[in-house]
Symmetry: C2
DNA sequence: TTTCGATATGTCGAATCGTGCATAACCATA
DNA sequence: TATGGTTATGCACGATTCGACATATCGAAA
């Protein structure tokens, strides 16, 4: 009996743009929320700052929503936190994703497990 | 009101190997079933024969299941069809995937739609 | 006013992945 | 037995993605 696991990736598309929001950006938003800066968040997730910054820019531009409140300068260099809308996106996506994950586990047990040998 | 769509990708991992089965291989199996050969299937899906062949090899090797019955030679060159096990995998995965897709649409409407502006 | 660490952005190189191409083996049928 | 289209497989090239760097900017606090 081999051990197998379901994996999935979720994202949202607009008419023109692929991946305006998804698992990666969701994780990044959460990390920014807990770490207090984009820089620290990128380190926590072990992705480059360059990518983290690009991802957030893309999301905000494509969703036409201000997810982040960015601060530059100061002795501590700056900081970034979530706007109310950013927090709402995190909350909603968390529930959204969690329901799908549950459905995936359930469906796996129901349909796939019997095939694994 | 921007139009947005959910997208997802599903796959299965074993302990050691990433992606031993998933959406791509499922589509490929179905195409082989309807087209009658790996070659025709790869053309129908517009992927290279090279990749199609590699994907099927990987799946069979990692799942330790014979999904395909391959025939070489003959005036028509050969053919490939699904084994009974191959058909079972297609059937099961189709149901599996469909349940998750439904859950995703439902969850999107429930949690995400309100955020889109 | 100097400082220091974070934000902001462009660029080039490395890794990953698929395609294209080449070639061999195969064998039912004409 | 000659043929032709498919399976089988290696390899090099091209695209796409991401990370590593290199700067530039910013501004509250020392």
């Amino acid at each position: 009996m081999k051990k197998m696991r379901v994996r999935f990736k979720l994202w949202l598309n607009t008419k023109n743009v692929e991946g305006v929001f998804g698992d990666g950006k969701w994780r990044l938003l959460r990390a920014i929320d807990s770490e207090g800066s984009l820089n620290a968040a990128s380190k926590a997730l072990r992705i480059s700052y360059r990518k983290a910054w690009g991802d957030m820019s893309k999301a905000e531009a494509c969703l036409n929503v201000a997810l982040l409140e960015r601060h530059r300068g100061g002795r501590m260099g700056g900081a970034t936190c979530l706007t109310e809308q950013g927090k709402e996106w995190v909350k909603a996506y968390t529930k959204f994703r969690s329901e799908i994950e549950k459905a995936a586990e359930k469906a796996f047990k129901k349909h796939m497990e019997k095939l694994i040998k």
